[in-house]
Amino acid sequence: MIKIENLVKKYDSFTALGGVSLEFKDGEVVGLLGPNGAGKTTLLRILVGFLKPTDGEVEIEGMDIKKPILEQKIKSKIGYLPELAPLYEDMLVGEYLKFVGKMQGVSSDELDKKVKEIISKCGLVEKKNAEIGTLSKGYRQRVGIAQALIHNPKIVILDEPTTGLDPNQRIEIRDLIKEIGKDRTVILSSHILSEVQSTCSRVVIINKGKIVADGSPEDLEKTGKGAVVINMEVDILENNLIERLRSVAGVTDVKAEGNKITIETEKEKDVRAAIAKITVESGAGLLVMERKQTSLEDVFINLTHNENE
């Protein structure tokens, strides 16, 4: 359980986080979404104890992060993969994981077993004796995730775990995150929407250091600010068709470009039948009609774009 209240972080005159309040429950897989520079990394860095907040309260498992005496105890409960998976290039994969295990306080009789377990869980068996500097990006990312999991932490924090991976690698890492999330809290940041949609049970959208949305991916889609849009194509545009379409109940706006018509409607009402009827009555042939629902992407663009203005 993580409780964040009115968290503020300032770098000189720049405010990276301007009063963030959040709560993460045990076992949640949360996606932190936002454009670059929104404050995601800053938030994560405060949670893992790498940065100190300027103001506000953070409690991890009931422990206040501001109390120096609890700092080491809190740190040992968290596994962390920083952005771009920084690793010691000159070490071997197995050797590195062993080192991290020791630093994280894994007991020496358990260490070998733990390393072996995590190596197979993260698909690193054939790279066990490879030098980290020679690994591809996908494997590096796996080593980074393995490193975050070696001490079986209750909370796993991953900063952009799939950045720079090809689609196949992305799917692999996504599956791995799903697997990890079965028995612990996972907080990951991303600016790729499909990613968050497919792995997370909850999405928090952050922009300019403030939370702009919080909920399940489905909820966010429903409450999205974007309206339902109907795209239509007709063979001939009769003079009064546009006017008549505007008069349909539930239609908020109609725009025409050549023979293509874009109709914005209220979310709750399905006006397709009425529109089709009017179109045909006007003497035009209806060639295409397509209803487009708001996606998480629209929600994201709407929320972060409006804030920017």
């Binding site: 920084p86 991290v100 306080g105």
Partner: protein, 238 residues
């Protein structure tokens, strides 16, 4: 304590795993060996005086090369973020880096043991002076290392760290030289001599191991390690 040793061991391994470690080691051995052999064959005296008297200068180039990467490289590659989110105090991480560099210096000095062994075999060198020489070099090296580590923690580039460490150490070294102090008032001379890394080293080399010199080197080491821990704690290298 345990975590300090784990980290120190890993750091020491990385010295021996990197080409830089071997380059630095070879340069040190060739330079110090050459200086010794030159005076040995010239004066034909079974003494290591010339060897030790050149140590402060040789180490000014050697030790910044050892410490330059310790923080700068971690910051550049981002691994510092992993390191400092381990359950580890900042000062513990600093101590581990210090210990590993100090152990590396120890290994370098160990490799020069062929010189005293050879001298003992062929002549009768003053063993006390040789012992004092090695001890003084360790103290001096510890001070150089702590300065180098601190500099490495405030910059983000290895080369900058190397050059800046060299400059700072050299400054500490020459502040006691008579050439610099001759024209200054007595108080400045007193301060300069007592602050200088070389004055204290020379007094140890004479075979006199005084508490004053010991406290001096300990203070320098503690002071710069403290600065280092503070710089690491501030995390203001973004």
């Amino acid at each position: 304590m345990n975590r300090i040793m784990i980290l120190a061991k890993k750091e020491l391994n990385s010295y021996f795993n990197s080409p830089l470690g071997y380059i630095v080691g070879s340069v040190f051995l060739v330079a110090s060996g050459w200086i010794f052999m030159q005076s040995f064959f010239f004066y034909e005296i079974a003494s290591m005086r010339s060897f030790f008297s050149m140590m402060p200068i040789i180490l000014i180039f050697i030790l910044p090369a050892v410490t330059m990467s310790s923080w700068a490289e971690e910051k550049k590659s981002g691994t510092v973020e992993v390191l400092l989110t381990f359950p580890l105090e900042n000062i513990q991480a600093v101590l581990a880096k210090f210990l590993s560099a100090f152990a590396f210096l120890g290994a370098l000095l160990l490799m020069t043991f062929f010189i005293p062994l050879m001298l003992i075999k062929i002549g009768e060198p003053d063993r006390g002076v040789i012992f004092a020489g090695y001890l003084g070099t360790l103290f001096l090296g510890a001070a150089y290392i702590s300065i180098g580590l601190w500099v490495s923690s405030i910059v983000k580039n290895q080369i900058t760290a190397f050059i800046l460490s060299l400059v700072v150490i050299f400054g500490f070294y020459i502040v006691g030289s008579s050439m610099l102090l001759d024209s200054l008032p007595p108080l400045a001379v007193y301060v300069g001599e007592n602050l200088s890394l070389s004055t204290h080293f020379n007094s140890i080399l004479r075979g006199v191991l005084s508490l004053k010199d010991l406290i001096y080197y300990m203070s320098v080491v503690i002071f710069f390690l403290f600065l280092n821990a503070r710089a690491v704690g501030e995390r203001n290298w973004r």
